[in-house]
């Protein structure tokens, strides 16, 4: 009965110009199934359509094509207040002329719920968020973090089937952001309600989501749990988006090298040549002479290990960023930078030559034309 699952089928959003002709398609026919009680994160760069998708789910934006269902029920033409949703906005969107109590009670008052019920619900929610002493104040007298908690409280009071979050932490300072991240995660564990969370921050996505939907230009690039996205990206967009610093993506071709195949970078200078053995050799056989992209994460370039699974690469350091417990080291490679996360407190200098070992078990090969992973 309380099914908070969400199903989007061929969902499209097209904006029309003043003559009624389609001018821009923000969401290009996406299909997404969110399980009841799941924390689903929609992540992607600005303009990828994640907010538009969320707003269509909320009923704040009309749907140009396809359907959205909450539970069994198609909600395309259902008013936001009847969809069983609640939303937390980026700028909190609190009612500045009402007290905190009235802000949280507003929805219930409009629904003509009895006074005692309203008082009980609001005070109970205020207590769980630590707001019980501020109920008579107005939003203007509260800090950013407190206001965000009020926005959260306003949503909780509605007892929705689906919580919607539109980049709620973007306006907070870094420290408050970390704090609120764990508050929201804790809320999800306590309430077991479906939560759909939009952010452009991949760290928020990775730390909070049960599953993450990576979007780009109105389409879904991949939907999976955080670890799968990290370990098995379907394409170079996801590979480069998840992980900081991002995965090294080198452009080149497969050539016959020595006793097997190798990846040769497409560059005039500093071109790397990396032999492909075993599993990688098998994947590369279909691509001899064809363009591929060689991907390896900075954390899989080590300066310590040396074994048959690792291929050494020696190059000159361009920049080094000491982070304390490790250094982010930038080498100049043929078609871009080769970034390595080198553990330890050693201070590296530009111009120094360093040998790093590439962990070949963790290499990803992508088709140079389709940008999809080679499996």
């Amino acid at each position: 009965m309380n099914d908070g699952s969400v199903h989007m089928k061929n969902l499209v959003k097209t904006y029309l110009d003043e003559h009624g002709n389609p001018s821009f398609t923000a969401v290009k026919g996406i299909n997404l199934d969110i399980k009841d009680g799941e924390f689903m994160v929609l992540v992607g760069p600005s303009g990828c359509g994640k907010s538009t998708t969320l707003r269509m789910l909320a009923g704040l934006e009309s749907i140009s094509g396809g359907t959205i269902s909450i539970g069994e029920r198609v909600v395309n033409n259902v008013h936001p207040k009847d969809r069983g949703i609640a939303m937390v906005f980026q700028n909190y969107a609190l009612y500045p002329h009402m007290t905190i109590f009235d802000n949280m009670a507003f929805g219930l008052k409009l629904a003509k719920k009895p006074k005692e019920f309203i008082k009980e619900s609001v005070t109970k929610t205020a207590k769980t968020l630590g707001l019980e002493k501020m109920l008579e104040r107005k939003p203007g007298a509260l800090s950013g973090g407190q206001r965000q908690r009020v926005a959260l409280g306003r949503a909780i009071v509605r007892d929705p089937k689906v919580f919607l979050f539109d980049e709620p932490l973007s306006n907070l300072d870094a420290k408050m952001r970390v704090h609120m991240r764990s508050e929201i995660s804790r809320l999800h564990t306590q309430m077991t309600t479906t939560m759909v969370y939009v952010t452009h921050d991949q760290i928020e996505a990775m730390t909070m989501g049960d599953r993450i939907c990576v979007m780009r230009d109105g389409s879904i690039m991949q939907v999976a749990d955080p670890l799968t996205l990290y370990r098995q990206p379907d394409n170079i967009f996801v590979a480069g988006f998840i992980g900081s610093p991002p995965m090294n993506l080198l452009k080149g071709k497969v050539h016959k090298v020595d006793s097997g195949l190798g990846f040769v970078e497409d560059a005039q200078e500093n071109a790397l040549t990396i032999p492909l053995r075993g599993k990688l050799e098998k994947l590369a056989t279909k691509y001899v002479g064809k363009p591929i992209i060689f991907g390896i994460r900075p954390e899989h370039l080590s300066d310590q290990v040396s074994d048959p699974d690792h291929v050494p690469v020696t190059a000159a350091i361009e920049i080094s960023e000491p982070m304390g417990s490790e250094s982010i080291v930038y080498f100049k490679a043929g078609t871009g930078n080769l970034i390595a996360r080198v553990p330890g407190e050693h201070l590296y200098h530009p111009g120094e030559r360093l040998t790093v070992q590439l962990n070949m078990e963790k290499v990803h090969l992508f088709d140079g034309e389709t940008e999809n992973v080679i499996k």
Binding site: M87, A93, P96
Partner: protein, 271 residues
Amino acid sequence: MEETKLSKWLFGILAWLVAIIIFFPIFIMMITAFKNEREAQSLSLIFLPTLESFFEVFARSNYLKYVWNSMLASIGSTLLCFLLAIPAAYRMAFYPTKKTQSTLVWMLSTKMMPAVGVLIPIYILAQTFGVLDNIVGLIIIYALINLPIAVWMSYTYFCEIPGAILEAARIDGATIWGELWHVLRPMTVPGLASTALLLIILSWNEAFWSLNLTSVNAAPLPVFIASYSSPEGLFWAKLSAASFLAVAPIMVLGWMTQKQLVRGLTFGAVK
């Protein structure tokens, strides 16, 4: 150091000078109202104040009827104006299109045309609909001529409201009227109040249409004053007394609400 003190002084004196020049005719009118006809011929500041001109004015015409008509016309037209302006401003502020700005500018441009240019068509229309010398006709005309200002000012106040607050209200269950009443109204009431004051003052002082479209029944105060500029000759004292009676109510209102008026008139200046 001395230079800035001097320039402050100079600007201060200049400001006072301008204020005195602007206020001077009103001041003369006010003191002339308290003179009798003979003394009114001169501009002398020394005189024996008397209320005889006021008594004559009250005896000669029904002052209260004119006040009542002015009030009806001002307040009625302002209400009608808002009824039309607020939905328009709401749509333009929260759902703007490419044509929104040009529509707003076009609306304002209609105020640039001299009223006399449409005197004849409007007169004929008023006659056809039977609203000549009828307060309803005046209310409609005043509402229409003030509409551009009302839309513009409401639009600017609405633009200050973040759209997300209205969306939050929508999710909380408000219909579009609910959004206007529960959220927009409380947040924009100070701005809309200053706009309303401005419109009331503009309608109260409006002299062109009131003189042309009314005569006896619906005549507001400008007609009352004009009736003292008669072919019999100018009776300065009575004219001043009549003017004083016409202007006094609105001056009191303006004085009491000067803070809101200033805020309303400078809305665009401080951004």
